[in-house]
Every structure is written in C-alpha cells, then in structure tokens.
C-alpha cells in the first residue's frame, strides 16, 4: 500500500466499518447459533435459557434410516451436479472469457439469466415442463434443475480465472510442439485449476443447500432441505435443529477444508 493512501485514509470511518462488519457477522450467525443451541436442548419444545442438555436428537438423527436416505439423495445430487456443471462450465467459461467470437456478448448475458430469476418459480416451471415431456420427478430431474441454476454460477467463477490468463501461454506451448490436447492438459487446465476448484466447491455446496428447486423437482426422492422444510411446517421437531446443525457444519467443513486444501496446493 502506498504511503499517500495511508495518509488519506480516515481512521475513524475505518473503525466504524470494522464495527459494522462485526455487527453484520453477528446478524448472519445469530440464527445459525440459535439452531445449534436448540439441537442440544433436551426438551421437546425449545425454551431459552436451556435447562437440560442432551444429545438425544443427534442420536435419533443418526439412527433414522429415513434421514440416511435423504442424506444419500442430497449427496448423490450434489455430486452429480458438481461433476457435470464443472465440465460444462470449463467449456462455458472459455467461451465466456477466453475466445473472441461472434455472438459472445449475447452469450455472456443469456447464460446469466437463470441467476436472475426466482428459483421457486423456475422449479415449478421445470416441473411443468417435465410433466409435458412425460418425465417423472426424481433425483435426475432435481440434478437437471440444479444444473440450470448452478452452471451459470460456476461459469462465472471459472471465467474470473480465465480473464487473468494470458492466452499467449497456450500459443507458446503449441508453438513448442504440443498437440492441442497437450496444450489443454499441460497448460490450460493447471492454470485454471484454482478457479475450477472454487467452482466445484460452489457447485457442491449450492446444490447441497438448495431448497426451492429441489422441493418441486425431487418428487418422492426428497433431499435434506426439503425434508427439513416439511418437518418445520408440520410442527416443531427437535430433529430439525439437529439435522440443520449437521448440514451447516458439513457445509462449513467443506468450505473451509476446501479453502485450506487450495492454499496448501498453491504454496507448494
């Protein structure tokens, strides 16, 4: 940072921004912490302060075969979505940011439209579409619905990496005798790797936590968020905070673990 910049910086407003950021973080995490606390409360109905603690609800979550199925479906959907969306988004991002072609500017905007559309309505529209095409809802339809929304996001994430990429590096490899495939595996892919990695993390986690698309497309093969919602509106069950905390923890673990892995690889 330059000396002039420091001189112009206003200490007071900087402090205010720091305080405000902490306030926002508290705002974001307060309800998540509330879920966490509730998951350890022994009572069937939540009361604060908690008088009796217990791990019973976690035990009941772990012992429920039903919940294990939902977890399995959620993981299956998130896994397939991650692989497919990353592969398509690598191509999509190269088209987005690497090559100059006729139609690129229109493509850049079209591909982003699903992000700017309410997911619940999109989920319903896809359900309608599938019934018109005589396809029944299920995990495959949910994967498809997730892809519609997640591919644009992953494309954006990888594109940011592609923008920082000097195309002459590919040409240099080609000029030094590499075949097109060698250029891709030896140069393009390794350089884009950080972007691809974050894209994959995003794809997995967004699919994992998605409710509005899943609720209309999974049919009988429910995911965890869909099940949680059903339980929530049907009346309070302490399994909800327990499973909610578990999914939150898993998302946090994947996110921070992924970040840690990515940093370790970059340092090497």
């Amino acid at each position: 940072m330059s000396a002039t910049e420091t001189a112009y910086r206003n200490r007071k407003s900087e402090k205010a921004i720091r305080v405000w950021t902490v306030v926002i973080l508290l705002f974001i995490y307060l309800p998540m912490v509330a879920v966490f606390i509730a998951s350890f409360s022994k009572l069937r109905f939540f009361m604060f302060p908690v008088k009796a603690w217990s791990l019973d609800w976690y035990a009941s979550v772990f012992n429920s075969i039903e919940i294990r199925d939902y977890l399995g479906t959620s993981l299956l959907i998130a896994g397939v979505v991650t692989v497919v969306s990353v592969v398509l988004a690598i191509a999509g991002a190269l088209a987005f940011a690497r090559y100059e072609w006729k139609g690129r500017s229109l493509y850049q905007k079209l591909i982003l439209l699903p992000i700017f559309f309410p997911q619940a309505v999109l989920g319903l529209a896809i359900l309608l579409w599938s019934s018109a095409l005589d396809l029944s809802p299920g995990w495959q339809l949910a994967v498809f619905a997730h892809l519609v929304w997640i591919i644009p996001i992953v494309t954006l994430v990888i594109s940011i990496q592609v923008y920082g990429f000097d195309p002459s590096v590919e040409e240099a490899a080609y000029d030094l005798g590499a075949s097109r495939w060698q250029v891709f595996t030896e140069v393009t892919l390794p350089i884009l790797w950080p972007g691809i990695f974050s894209g994959a993390l995003f794809a997995f986690l967004l699919s994992w936590g998605n409710f509005p698309l899943s609720t209309f497309t999974t049919g009988a093969e429910q995911t965890v968020p869909v099940w949680l919602y059903a339980k929530m509106v049907a009346g309070y069950s302490p399994q909800v905070p327990a499973l909610g905390s578990l999914t939150t923890l898993l998302a946090g673990l994947v996110l921070f673990g992924g970040y840690w892995l990515g940093r370790r690889k970059a340092k090497k």
């Binding site: 002039t4 205010a16 921004i17 926002i24 072609w101 079209l110 559309f117 309608l128 968020p225 999914t247």
Partner: protein
C-alpha cells in the same frame, strides 16, 4: 494492432474474406453458419447453451403457453384465451403482486444501506481477508429454511432474545414473529450475500489512483464518495440491486416461515395454483406476469453492462 485485441485461437478462426458472391443467398447463409461453428468459442458455448435452452427457455416458454389455456386444463393444445389474466385482476391476485413488489423494494433499499460499509470494507480495508469472505459466503450454502428457522428460534416467545431479556432483566418482549416487518427481516437476511458480493465487486473497480487524485484536488470524503466511488461502482451496485429485487420478488420461504402467512407473496399464489388448486393455467398466468416483470428489469440492466470490464478487473 487493429485486430480483436483479446485473444486468438490456436487455429485460424478469423472469418476470412470470402470469395466474391457466387451461388444463392441460401448457400451463403449455410456457409456463414458453418463458419460460425468453426469458432472455438462458439463450439465451447454449446453445452451450456443447450442446458440453458432445455432448462430455462423451454420451461418458461411452456409456462407462457399454458397461461393462455382455459382454466383448469392440463393440456396445452387448446384454443388460446386470456381468461386467466382476467381472473387475476378480478380475484384480487394483484394484492400479492403489490405486496411482493413493495417488500422487494423495501428489502433492496435496506440491503443497499447495510451492505455498503461491509462491501466497502471487503474490497478496501480487509482486502486479503479470505476468512472474512468465507464467513460471509457460508450462509449461501446453508438451506434458507434452516437459517430462517434459526430466526424463529431466536424471536420466539421464550426464544433466544425473549429468554435472555427475561432472565437478565425480567422483561417480557412482545410477540415478534408472524408480521410484515419480520418477513422483511428474513428477506434481508437471506438475500444479503446477493447484494454484498456484486457491490463489493463494483467497489473494487474504483482505482485507488482516482480516489487519491480526487483527495489530492481537495475533495472531501463525501465528495469522493459521490463523484468518484459511487459512479464507478455503479455497475456492481446495480447488479446487486437487481439480484436482490428479483429474488425477493419471487421468494416464498420467508413469508411462510417467518411471516406465518400474514403476507401472501406472489410465489405462494403460484405454488397454490399449481399444487393444491390444480389450476395450471392460472398458475402459469401468474408466473407469466412475474416472468415479464423480471425480464424487463434484467434485460434492461444486462444490455447496458460490459461484463468483460466488470469481471476482468482490468
């Protein structure tokens, strides 16, 4: 050089000057199409475009077609009619529209104000703090149901807040759940990242040198904000506003979980029409109006943006 400055493909992709027009117009069109497909960028865009057409244009197009079908029909090959749109106005569905638009406006305004300092800090003060970014991203990956449920636990009678004030001060807080303000709270809460990150991207586009130059010429903090930072960060802010507005407009869980049906959002009407009422054409007509409103806003903004500048940070 006077050539496309960005990047060249490894093959020769530049459309060559074609030999003088020989053959029919159709031939030329076919040849131009083939040339288009020879561009590597065009080829690479196809898989993603395919999903876009099959999963976005197709379904939404079908919804628009269904909206013109007679009430309660499940086929889309009947004579088109506008009766569903008439129903919308006669039966007071516009009230849910008004609520949705109003809440979307209020939430967006609140989000602008509360996100600006954090977005500013994120791109200027905490520049290298990946941890902070991750903490702010994490909520995106937790189902909104769980997080809204957390608010229920927090605001409930004998919940986290009420329970705390009772034990500490003996105060009993009034009922806080199931009304319009708490619905807005839920919306602001869920869509915060959608405002925060585009806004921060916008602010990171303001070059330090411009800011310093303005200070150097005697601008006050407020003037720097108004004359330099705000206009330069505008594309990011606009994207943030559009995202939050559109997503709140079509939101459903906040009003159900926190609002306790005290407010009916348009998506709720749409869902009811499709599911309980089994009136697909009405649901489609309600969706069509939402699609139109969203399309006008989104296309209006996106057509003005240069995404290359915004994303490459050059």
């Amino acid at each position: 050089m006077n050539m496309p400055s960005k990047s060249y493909s490894v093959t020769d992709s530049s459309p060559e000057r074609l030999p003088e027009n020989r053959g029919s117009a159709l031939n030329i069109r076919v040849r131009n199409t083939l040339l288009w497909f020879r561009q590597p960028g065009a080829l690479l865009s196809l898989p993603a475009l395919l999903i876009f057409v099959a999963g976005f244009i197709g379904p939404l197009g079908l919804v628009v077609i269904y909206s013109l079908m007679p009430e309660r029909s499940f086929a889309f090959n009947q004579l088109p009619t506008l009766e569903n749109f008439v129903t919308i106005f006669q039966e007071g569905y516009y009230i849910s529209y008004a609520w949705s638009v109003w809440l979307a406006l209020v939430s967006t305004l609140i989000l602008i104000v509360i996100c600006w300092p954090v977005a500013y800090g994120l791109s200027r003060i905490f520049r290298r703090s990946m941890i902070l970014t991750l903490l702010l991203v994490l909520p995106l990956f937790v189902s909104e149901n769980v997080r809204l449920f957390g608010w229920v636990l927090t605001l409930l009678n004998h919940g986290i807040l009420d329970g705390t004030t009772r034990t500490l001060f003996g105060w009993e807080l009034p009922d806080m759940l199931y009304n319009a303000p708490v619905t807005v709270l839920g919306m602001v809460y869920v869509y915060l990242p959608f405002m925060l990150f585009p806004m921060s991207l916008g602010i990171s586009m303001v070059p330090d040198a411009c800011r310093e130059a303005a200070f150097d010429m005697g601008a006050t903090r407020w003037q720097v904000f108004k004359e330099v930072e705000l206009p330069l960060a505008m594309p990011g802010i606009m994207i943030g506003c559009l995202l939050s507005f559109v997503l709140v407009l079509g939101s459903i869980s906040e009003a159900k979980i926190l609002g306790g049906q005290s407010i009916i959002m348009i998506s709720h009407d749409i869902e009811t029409a499709f599911t309980y009422a089994q009136n697909w054409p009405l649901g489609s007509a309600l969706s069509t109006l939402l699609i139109l409103l969203t399309a006008v806003l989104v296309i209006g903004l996106l057509s003005r943006l240069n995404l290359d500048n915004l994303l490459s940070r050059k």
